[in-house]
């Protein structure tokens, strides 16, 4: 069961399982007793079957296009974005697009190579659940989420950039 970090640094457990993309010709084996995150394009392919289910969410890989879910994002209880390597920054754009462009309001989860020093960026880009890589010290998450009290730019967490806040 993954430990899930919230934006305030608190830790909870849940049992969402990430289903890897099945190999060519294989079918997706969705567990009967556990909520599952499946590749977003497969959710769309089985839309009739999956929509409205509270135990099925999706995940995007960093090279995927979140545009495929435009208009349907809020039918999902959880969307996860995989960071295949912590230095791959595409997931931050995906997060902002899901939140700011497509209006996604439910849980946005960071999975994969999620390290302590990237949590602050994920938080600002709309992620509100983080599954830290297992070898990292989860007790330091709260500190690492809170080094900065504000940012210069607008992002998902702050609609108004500092230059407008200064003016008011």
């Amino acid at each position: 069961m993954p430990n899930v970090i919230s934006p305030d640094g608190s830790i909870r457990q849940d049992n969402w399982v990430v289903m890897p993309r099945p190999a060519e010709g294989e079918s997706l084996d969705i567990p009967a007793d556990q909520p599952a995150l499946i590749p977003a394009d497969l959710w769309l392919a089985g839309y009739e079957h999956f929509t409205g289910r509270q135990d099925i969410g999706v995940w995007f890989d960093s090279h995927d296009e979140p545009e495929i879910l435009d208009g349907r994002v809020n039918e999902l209880p959880v969307i996860a974005v995989n960071f295949p390597k912590f230095s791959d920054g595409r997931g931050y754009s995906i997060g902002r697009l899901l939140r700011e462009r497509f209006g996604y309001v439910n849980e946005l989860r960071a999975i994969g190579d999620v390290l302590l020093d990237q949590l602050q960026f994920m938080k600002r880009c709309g992620f509100d659940a983080y599954v830290l890589r297992a070898d990292k010290d989860i007790t330091k998450a709260q500190k690492c989420l809170n080094f900065f009290s504000q940012g210069y730019q607008a992002a998902t967490d702050t609609e108004i950039p500092l230059f407008r806040r200064r003016a008011s």
């Binding site: 009290s149 940012g151 210069y152 230059f163 407008r164």
Partner: protein, 550 residues
């Protein structure tokens, strides 16, 4: 100059605390080397051939005298008593200890300095013309826009892990480009449209390195207030679609080329349509607030000191030469722009000692309202010197080594630290610069040769901007031996072009003679009015090849 408010101060302090914590975790083994790498790079810290190297940010090249004095003290307390001005208007320390870096950053923060994003795959320091605000032919002062970009790009959460580094430069002069904007990832040329409104012509995808390219225009006119939303659109397209599979193909220029400039521009426009009216759109009040930091200093009402200078020139040939070459016209009557050259033969280009940093600070206080600008040619500018005090200034700087009257001549070399310091270099660059400076030690001959940009890089990364030198020198490794490849015809100005390779490379001791032969061809072929670049463009590379490889 920009002054921090409580928000800037708070974030600077928070950044130091964060890096202190990160360094402690790295030293305690909690962060793997590759995990710490981007964190330390985004705080300016490289691990180099002989020691760590710390690159300190000088936003768009502007510094105050108190900041120079603090740098001097830091070089004494934490380093070997000298620093290096870089080709992107920053300052480097060559020997700090890793565990001291958080303390150094804390000392910098006290004087409103930092090392944020001076390295790593993020948005780097925005650079501009060192004569901003004091020249008469600029569209508008570009520095407020550089500061606006600095704030927007600082700790940007979406763009902290780009495919590769990202450099923005702004130019505002109509007739010259001292900021080399066309060889930047984004080059912004300030312009006015037919209605007289202020805006930017946007170049994207220029750059040096392995695949040198002049950046194509992707938007002819971007209205002033749309600056940040448009930059955000460019960066988002790059962050999402720039190549990440191959480090050497990861710069935005490769993406622009792959999509074609038109295709890239379309993608940016489509993205921009979604965000152009978001709160990130600038407001006149926000721009004015930043502009208020870049108002004119308290100039005296003066006339030009034409007669005085004429008689001083007549009496003193050295002063006359210096005035001709190292002093530029100021927009205010009675004032002048002075470039202090850091190119004395025998000193690595751009290197300064702690004492010299303090001397520069004193000169700034005494002669130029306490401010200096660092140039991408690795010199230092005093932008606001009274004409009637130029002789006094020249007399003061000559013994300090800042008065070499070789600005923009062959010996005003742009040069990276090279194999003497840098772990990436294939070859040393500083000794080549020095050998060429020794070969051409006759100032009158240098003046006769006119403006020649000689740029030297120790490797393909092109920190010495060799591709855009009229004469470019690139250090290459041939079976463990240092060799040097020459290119001709590059330019970083409005007429930007990438130099063409002359032919097989040369051993280091051959270099002064090879440069002499190239110069001889120019002298033989030139017409009266032609600069080196003009002649090269007219006659082509063949006459140079024939002479050099004869």
């Amino acid at each position: 100059m920009y002054v921090y408010d409580e928000h800037d101060r708070q974030m600077a302090a928070e950044r130091v605390a964060q890096f202190r914590d990160q360094t402690e975790r790295a030293l305690a083994g909690e962060l793997a080397e590759d995990e710490f790498l981007p964190l330390r790079l985004q705080n300016g810290l490289y691990v180099q051939r002989l020691a760590p190297m710390l690159r300190i940010c000088v936003p768009y090249g502007m510094m105050r005298s108190d900041q120079l004095r603090r740098l001097a003290r830091i070089t004494r307390d934490y380093d070997k008593g000298y620093a290096h001005f870089t080709t992107r208007q920053n300052v480097q320390l060559n020997w700090p200890a890793l565990e001291d870096v958080p303390d150094i950053l804390a000392e910098l923060a006290e004087v409103e300095m930092h090392a944020n994003q001076t390295s790593g795959n993020c948005i780097r320091n925005t650079t501009t013309d060192q004569f901003s605000g004091v020249q008469s032919d600029e569209i508008a002062d570009p520095r407020p826009y550089c500061e606006i970009i600095r704030q927007w790009s600082t700790f940007h959460p979406e763009f902290a892990f780009l495919p590769r580094k990202f450099k923005v430069a702004v130019n505002a002069s109509e007739h010259t480009d001292r900021a080399a904007i066309q060889v930047h990832d984004i080059g912004l040329q300030m312009v006015r449209n037919e209605a007289g409104e202020l805006g930017f012509r946007v170049h994207v995808g220029g750059g040096l390195g392995r695949t040198p390219m002049v950046g194509p225009v992707i938007r002819e006119f971007l209205p002033e207030m749309d600056l940040l939303t448009y930059l955000e659109a460019v960066l988002r397209v790059y962050n999402r679609y720039g190549r990440r599979d191959n480090k050497f193909k990861a710069r935005i220029k490769i993406l622009v080329k792959a999509l074609t400039p038109e295709g890239f521009a379309e993608k940016v426009e489509a993205e921009w349509q979604h965000i152009k009216d978001s709160p990130t759109r600038l407001t006149p009040e926000a721009v004015q607030r930043i502009q208020a930091y870049f108002t004119e200093p308290d100039y005296a009402a003066l006339d030009n000191a034409t007669d005085l200078l004429a008689s001083q020139r007549f009496e003193n040939r050295g002063f006359d030469q210096w005035l001709t070459h190292n002093v530029d016209t100021h927009k205010k009557p009675g004032y002048a722009i002075v470039t202090l050259t850091m190119k004395k033969t025998g000193t690595p280009p751009g290197d300064v000692s702690d004492k010299q940093l303090e001397q520069i600070a004193d000169l700034a206080d005494e002669f130029s309202f306490g401010e200096v600008r660092v140039t991408h040619q690795q010199n230092v500018v005093l932008a606001d010197v009274r004409q009637d005090r130029l002789l006094e200034l020249w007399q003061a700087i000559t013994p300090m080594g800042f008065g070499t009257a070789n600005l923009n001549t062959l010996t005003d070399v742009i040069c990276c630290p090279g194999g003497d310091y840098c772990a990436l270099a294939n070859a040393k660059s500083i000794p080549v610069a020095e050998a060429i400076q020794r070969q051409f030690d006759d100032l009158d001959y240098l003046y006769d040769l006119g403006n020649i940009d000689l740029n030297i890089s120790g490797c393909m990364n092109a920190c010495g901007h060799h591709h855009v030198g009229h004469i470019g020198v690139l250090g290459v490794d041939k079976k463990g031996q240092e060799f040097y490849q020459i290119s001709l015809g590059g330019s970083s100005h409005h007429d930007a072009s990438i130099g063409k390779i002359l032919g097989p490379s040369f051993a280091r001791d051959e270099m002064p003679q090879v440069i002499s032969k190239i110069i001889d061809v120019y002298v033989d072929k030139r017409t009266e009015e032609e600069t080196f670049l003009d002649t090269y463009r007219r006659v082509g590379i063949d006459p140079f090849k024939e002479r050099v490889y004869a």
